[in-house]
């Protein structure tokens, strides 16, 4: 289990890069890397050379999140102005523009089957679910406010502001992380809130289910820790510490044996889940690492594992994961 630097693309955007995800391979092309930046553009890159394929404009204010449909045909990008733009990956044609005022848009993710796009709704304290066929809002999953904290004096920073979402690999559960560190688990089929997972007390900016075990959820928080939860059993299995500052993003490797994380401490770390310890620390970025993403398996003859990381330093780094 190790990472080896393959390629680093300096000045891949004109400004800080805030979002990255892999667009799965289709029959006609291999997987592509999709990045979004403060410079209001979304760019597509061909691996392993990190060759710029296309630049999408049209967003105002910074692009905070990108998501790719499991089919690899369509993708979505969202910016601080709270618009979600859904577009065709290959033609860059806008398919739809989603907006659900007054809800903001933060992290988003397509469900494993590709029928629903879940969007973290920030201050609306909810997750918005969009049907990918009709592009209509199908459901709003609200995070219940803990009793007694409805008082307006609740400081703006510590609310249940929803920052991040993650689908379980079986598509039955949806987890969201919020500003005050609580994680909420929803039953998607019944559109019902199940329970909270506690342990973090600072914003949870990124979370991900294990691709091999639909119960296991990994969360990254500003408290510098990565937690491992049994999302069904409501218990915390473990915690991993090592980052010196906020953990901004994490992703689980396709084999489910490792987690990669990016942090404000400018490093990317690879965590061995058996040892529950960092086995490698990459410090090639010179500013906070806003996103890390493992390339999903599949595609024509591509077996090798790839990890991409993007940073405030405007660069993209690509690593070989083996």
């Amino acid at each position: 289990m190790k990472l080896a630097g393959l390629k680093s693309k300096e000045n891949a955007h004109e400004e800080s890069i805030w979002a990255a995800t892999w667009v799965p391979a289709t029959e006609s092309r291999p997987a592509l890397l999709l990045t979004g930046s403060l410079d209001e553009t979304v760019r597509l890159w061909r691996s392993d050379e990190l060759e710029l394929q296309v630049t999408n404009t049209g967003h105002c204010l910074g692009v905070v999140s990108v998501a790719a449909h499991p089919s690899g045909v369509i993708a979505a990008s969202a910016s601080l102005d709270s618009f979600v733009r859904v577009f065709d990956v290959d033609t860059n044609a806008t398919i739809s523009t989603l907006e659900a005022p007054p809800s903001e848009v933060w992290k988003m993710q397509f469900d494993p089957k590709g029928t629903i796009l879940a969007v973290a709704g920030g201050g609306s304290l909810s997750i918005k679910l969009w049907d990918t066929a009709t592009w209509k809002l199908v459901a709003t999953l609200s995070v219940p406010r803990p009793e007694g904290s409805n008082k307006p004096a609740d400081r703006s920073g510590s609310s249940k502001f929803v920052l991040s979402v993650a689908w379980s690999p079986d598509g039955k559960r949806l987890a969201c992380g919020s500003m005050d560190g609580t994680i909420s688990i929803f039953d998607v089929a019944r559109a019902k809130f199940l329970h909270h997972l506690e342990g973090h007390f600072m914003p949870v900016r990124s979370l991900a289910y294990s691709p091999v075990d639909p119960r296991v959820l990994f969360t990254a928080s500003d408290d510098t820790h990565i937690h491992i939860y049994d999302a069904e059993g409501k218990s915390m299995i473990g915690a991993m510490s090592g980052h010196a500052s906020w953990v901004l993003s994490l992703d689980v490797s396709p084999d489910g044996a490792a987690v990669a994380s990016g942090s404000s401490d400018r490093t990317v770390r690879l965590w061995d889940l058996n040892m529950r310890a960092a086995v490698q620390t990459m410090s090639n970025h010179t500013d906070q690492v806003w996103a890390v993403a493992f390339r999903p398996p599949g595609g024509t003859g591509v077996r090798a594992g790839r990890l991409a990381s993007v940073s405030d330093d405007k660069s993209i780094s690509l690593y070989d994961y083996s």
């Binding site: 400004e15 201050g123 473990g238 404000s264």
Partner: protein
């Protein structure tokens, strides 16, 4: 049968006195002598046969009397013989009288020598001196008198004078005095005592040559010299010969055995012991033999025998040095048994007996040790220094002296001594250890070197390296930031144990139920389970500190999980280890888990409810959870717990007052001043106690800055900044920010903020980003300002204030560009007129005109969107914005959009004209231009289309707003403000802004560093401004105001206070009714300023004032 004949006067007869039958009463003989007027020599013969030397006299005659127990008689006879009558009677008989006097002198010298009581000793010596002086008066040059004097002086320890006396004899050339044996022996003795053994040996040899049949004592002297010179074999020969001459067993057996011992052969030692025992059997009361036997038994550990033997020795011996040895043995025995009181007593006795450290130095050492044990450092020091006089290179003594200097906190001297010790013996690990410990305070690097040398030495010697040493090395590495080395060292120190499985990640902390209500129970449970599973959970007490330090190291390496387990392990075994609670609490605090942190502190306080560190931390936590009064009480308690010596608590109270000054809801200038004064007083107090306390200096400087003394405060900040860099435990980003603040307040828009952002917060502090944005704003770098704000939003998504500020920045930007556009448009016309021919230029000019308009429109749309979002959001959350104000912004932006539309149209018109003109130009121009022309046209058309698209969007947008607005209007009467004429707006602006630029800055400065004045006077300049501008300007201020506003909700509370302000302003100006309304909105936004005040940059300060106390475990 020896007898003495006393001649009867005037006859040939003689009275025969048999020596064996000396009359019991000496007076009988005296009577005979007196009656018969015996020649004087007979007087002497009775007591003394003519002897060669005084020594001889002792050996033969005196001993006879002594043996017969007739010393008194002897003395009586002699004294009679030296009485004034005799002097008269025998005035012409010189030599015999001298002999009698010398005999008496020698007698008293001897008495003095063996006497133990100092007073009587002195008396004897005085008498002896008198007799010798008398003898000298009879004949100055009589050598035997000088010899006697020399002996006396020797006995008194006056080596110099003794030597001089012997020298007089030896230098006397009259007879064969040059080889006067007693003088030679005396001189040899002097030299021996002075340690000039080889010279002494020479003299003994000479004496032997002159007088080959001299007594065994000469050979004894030779033997002793040889022994002292380390020639053991020859010494033994000399002793043997002495033995052959005279059976001085009791003296020589022990000496020989001692030599054997010195020769360091085990079997020899035993042989020596055998001899010693033989000697003991032969003469059970020889003190020396007893002492040596005792010595032997001391080493074999038979303390009972030691005591018995030495007590006997004490009883039989009257010689000072010998007694001293005996006492020493006794003392040593008690010392090793740990009976320091008795040991000290006997050491003292021993020291008293020998007087001179040169004779016997060991008891001084022992006494020093005991006194050290008693804590009597000064006496101890003086004793060790005496030892050092004798053995200036003795490492042990140097080390002890170094240690005492440390205790007496004379670090410099201690260092000097220990350095010397390590230099003398570079293989003495102990000395390096002490040196290292000493250096920790002053020079960590050198200390580390010393410790490492010690470790190396210990390892080389195969000894076990003490855990304390490793711990210290680890801590030093840690402090120097060499974390890897530190970790290795700690691991080595800890060795094998249950912690290894935690450290290596083999055992993880237990799964925690998400509710995590029973924290303590959980931890206990975990370790119990481990125990049940057969993993012994042991933690030896001597490893606790190291384990704690290791955990600290892990914390420093950000591995808080492992650190927590280690702390919990410590607590599992040692539930009273407060520091572990505190560290756990600190970890929880860093993770924002205030609840848990407070619980842990509670546990710590259960152990010791007056622990100042715990109390201080509790105070900080209470402050964090906004429990002001409680926090103040806690800090007070913490301060009391340490009698005000703990600067942290005082500092915290200072901070508390500072916040209170800025927080006070109704900004009473008086209250504010009181709090500030109090804060300053507290900071100063800390500074008096600890002149190098960064935090206090920082705090004092902040107060100074509050009061407007920027130059002084800047100086202080800069100094603190310099001092704080270069220490891994102290990080003071606050001081960087404060420096930047001061620069800012003074109008230098430095990039200091950016620096501190990078340096300290991993770019994660939105507050600093805000400061940065503010600088951009001031510098009218709108895009940078916007980007910075967007970054901040990205970091703190739920901070709506940031969005508001971003909206303002965008609005400002649009306004600015629109204005510029107008100008450019004009310029463009001119350009196009004057330079008709250059089509390229025109195209570029057109772009220059067009692009800004387009981006302006986009920006305005964003602004409107942001504001309207905020407006909607405000129905969902409370975030402290006045809806009316947002509305105003929306209105204004919309109005600007209108303006932009006009610009758009203007631009379009221009374009049209341009095209016509270009058309003309083209017609005039040649056909080769045609291709390019077509290109241009295509381009222009494309742009036009885009423009139209945009316009359409704008219109849609407006409709949107109207819709939104309708919602708000339901509660609020329609505003009139949007009917502002655009021209009016633009005319006054440029100029006014310039005019106001300085003023605004000044005012901002105030809002940042309020000087406690009312703001009224600052407003005058703004009174006559037209409303639109005011609003706008006001928004400009707003961004500043909101900057620090983390708790924006206070605005509501503060509204009341703000109204007072607005009243004052109303008095000052004469506003129209239209303006009035607006003014209220404006003044309300001024009211937000207090909320700025309470959360100045300084709040970061207290957070970073970590617990220095819990770090220094070493």
């Amino acid at each position: 049968m020896a007898s003495v004949y006393i001649p009867v006067q005037n006859s040939e007869e003689e009275v025969r006195v048999s020596l064996e039958q000396l009359p019991r009463d000496a007076s009988d003989i005296l009577d005979i002598l007196k009656a018969e007027q015996a020649p004087l020599d007979l007087w002497l013969v009775i007591a003394v046969l003519k002897t060669v030397s005084v020594l001889q006299f002792f050996d033969s005659r005196f001993r006879e009397y002594f043996k017969q127990g007739k010393i008194e008689q002897f003395r009586q006879i002699l004294e009679e013989g030296s009485s004034p009558e005799i002097d008269e009677y025998y005035a012409d008989v010189k030599y015999e009288r001298i002999a009698i006097l010398n005999a008496l002198g020698a007698y008293y010298s001897y008495l003095g020598k063996v006497e133990t009581k100092q007073r009587e000793k002195d008396d004897h010596f005085i008498l002896a001196t008198q007799y010798y002086n008398k003898a000298s008066r009879i004949d100055m040059h009589e050598p035997s008198t000088w010899i006697g004097k020399g002996q006396l002086l020797l006995a008194k320890g006056d080596l110099d004078q003794a030597s001089a006396a012997f020298k007089i004899v030896l230098d006397d050339n009259r007879d064969d005095n040059r080889d006067n044996v007693p003088a030679l022996l005396g001189q040899a003795c002097v030299l021996f005592n002075r340690g000039r053994y080889s010279d002494s040996l020479e003299l003994y040899k000479r004496a032997l040559q002159v007088h080959p049949n001299c007594p065994a004592s000469v050979r004894l002297g030779i033997g002793l010299c040889r022994y002292k010179m380390g020639q053991f074999e020859k010494a033994r020969q000399a002793f043997k010969r002495a033995l052959q001459i005279q059976k001085m067993l009791r003296l020589l057996w022990p000496l020989e055995s001692w030599i054997c011992k010195q020769m360091k052969a085990a079997d020899e030692t035993w042989k020596g012991m055998e001899k010693m025992q033989k000697a003991f059997e032969i003469y059970p009361y020889c003190a020396m033999a007893l002492n040596y036997l005792a010595n032997h038994f001391f080493f074999t550990g038979q303390h009972f025998l030691v005591e018995q033997l030495t007590e006997t020795a004490l009883a039989v011996s009257s010689l000072g040095l010998m007694k001293s040895h005996s006492y020493y043995n006794l003392a040593r025995s008690y010392h090793s048994k740990g009976d320091y009181e008795k040991a000290g007593m006997y050491y003292m006795a021993s020291v008293k007996e020998c007087n001179k450290p040169h004779d016997f130095v060991l008891p001084y050492f022992g006494l020093g040790q005991v006194q050290l044990k008693w804590g009597d450092f000064r006496s101890s020091l003086s004793n060790f220094e005496k030892v050092l006089e004798v053995y200036p290179e003795n490492c042990e003594t140097l080390k002890v002296i170094g240690h005492i200097y440390v205790q007496l906190s004379q670090t410099e001297k201690a260092l000097e001594v220990l350095r010397k010790a390590t230099k003398i013996d570079p293989r003495d690990a102990q000395a390096f250890l002490e040196l290292g410990e000493l250096l920790i305070q002053s020079d960590a690097g050198a200390a580390l070197d010393a410790f490492r040398t010690a470790r190396g030495l210990l390892k080389k010697n195969g000894g076990e390296v003490p855990i304390e040493l490793l711990n210290n090395i680890g801590v030093l590495h840690f402090e120097r930031g060499e974390f890897e080395l530190a970790e290795q060292t700690f691991r080595e120190a800890l060795g094998d144990g249950v912690w290894l499985s935690f450290l290596d990640g083999k055992v993880h902390s237990p799964p925690v139920d998400s509710d995590a209500s029973s924290r303590q129970y959980n931890d206990l449970q975990f370790f119990r389970r481990l125990e049940e599973e057969g993993t012994p959970v042991d933690l030896p007490w001597d490893k606790v500190t190291t384990l704690f330090n290791h955990a600290r190291l892990l914390e420093q390496l950000h591995d808080n999980e492992k650190a927590s387990i280690l702390y919990k392990l410590i607590l599992f075994k040692y539930p009273d280890y407060i520091d572990a609670y505190l560290r756990l609490a600190a970890i929880a605090k860093a993770r924002n888990n205030t609840q848990l942190s407070i619980e842990l502190i509670g546990d710590a306080l259960k152990v010791n409810d007056r622990c100042p560190n715990a109390l201080s931390m509790l105070g900080t936590l209470e402050l964090k959870s906004d429990d002001w009064l409680k926090a103040k009480d806690t800090f007070r308690a913490a301060r009391e717990a340490t009698d005000g010596k703990d600067s942290y608590a005082t500092l915290a109270l200072g901070n508390w007052n500072y916040y209170a000054a800025l927080r006070s809801e109704k900004r009473g200038p008086k209250l504010e001043a009181t709090h500030l004064e109090k804060a300053k007083e507290l900071y100063t107090k800390v500074l008096v106690q600890h002149p190098s306390n960064f935090y206090a200096a920082n705090g004092a400087a902040v107060v100074l800055a509050e009061k407007g003394q920027f130059d002084v405060s800047k100086d202080i900040f800069t100094q603190v900044q310099e001092a704080a860099s270069g220490n891994i435990f102290v990080q003071m980003p606050d001081v960087w920010i404060n420096v930047a603040h001061v620069y800012f307040a003074q109008g230098h828009f430095a990039l200091a903020y950016q620096n501190c952002l990078r340096k300290f917060y991993y770019n994660t502090d939105t507050q600093v980003l805000l400061y940065l944005a503010r600088t951009h704003y001031e510098a009218e770098q709108w895009q940078d300002c916007k980007k910075t704000l967007l970054r901040a939003i990205h970091l703190a998504p739920s901070n709506y204030t940031l969005r508001f500020d971003a909206g303002v920045a965008m609005q400002k930007f649009s306004m600015f560009t629109l204005q510029k556009t107008k100008k450019t448009a004009d310029e463009f016309c001119i350009c196009s007129v004057t330079e008709e021919n250059t089509i390229d230029f025109e195209c570029r000019a057109f772009d220059a005109l067009y692009v800004p308009v387009r981006s302006t429109v986009a920006e305005l749309k964003n602004a409107v969107r942001v504001f309207s979002q905020l407006s909607t959001a405000s129905s969902l959350h409370y975030h402290g914005f006045d809806e009316k104000k947002i509305e105003t912004h929306v209105g204004y932006c919309k109005h600007l959009l209108d303006a932009a539309k006009v610009h758009h149209e203007a631009a379009e018109r221009e374009e049209q004209q341009n095209r016509q003109r270009l058309e003309l130009a083209r017609q005039v121009n040649l056909a080769e231009e045609a291709r390019r022309k077509a290109e241009e046209q295509r381009k222009l058309q494309l742009e036009k289309r885009k423009q139209e698209d945009l316009l359409k969007q704008v219109r849609q947008q407006e409709e949107n707003f109207k819709r939104v607005k309708e919602q708000w209007r339901s509660t609020e009467p329609a505003s009139k403000r949007k009917e502002r004429s655009q021209m009016e707006d633009e005319d006054g602006r440029g100029e006014k802004r310039r005019r106001k630029g300085g003023k605004r800055r000044k005012r901002d400065k105030k809002s940042r560093y309020e000087m406690g004045e009312t703001e009224g006077d600052m407003m005058d300049g703004e009174m006559e401004d037209d409303d639109a501008y005011m609003n706008n300007e006001d928004d400009g201020n707003r961004i500043n105001d909101q900057e620090d506003d983390r708790a924006d909700n206070n605005a509501q509370v503060l509204a009341a206070a703000g109204l007072e302000d607005s009243d004052a302003e109303d008095d000052a100006g004469a506003p129209s009714s239209n303006i009035n309304r607006r003014r209220r909105a404006w003044s309300e936004s001024d009211d937000d300023e207090p909320s700025v005040r309470q959360l100045e940059a300084s709040p970061t300060r207290e957070n970073s004032a970590e617990f220095p106390g819990s770090d220094g475990e070493a």
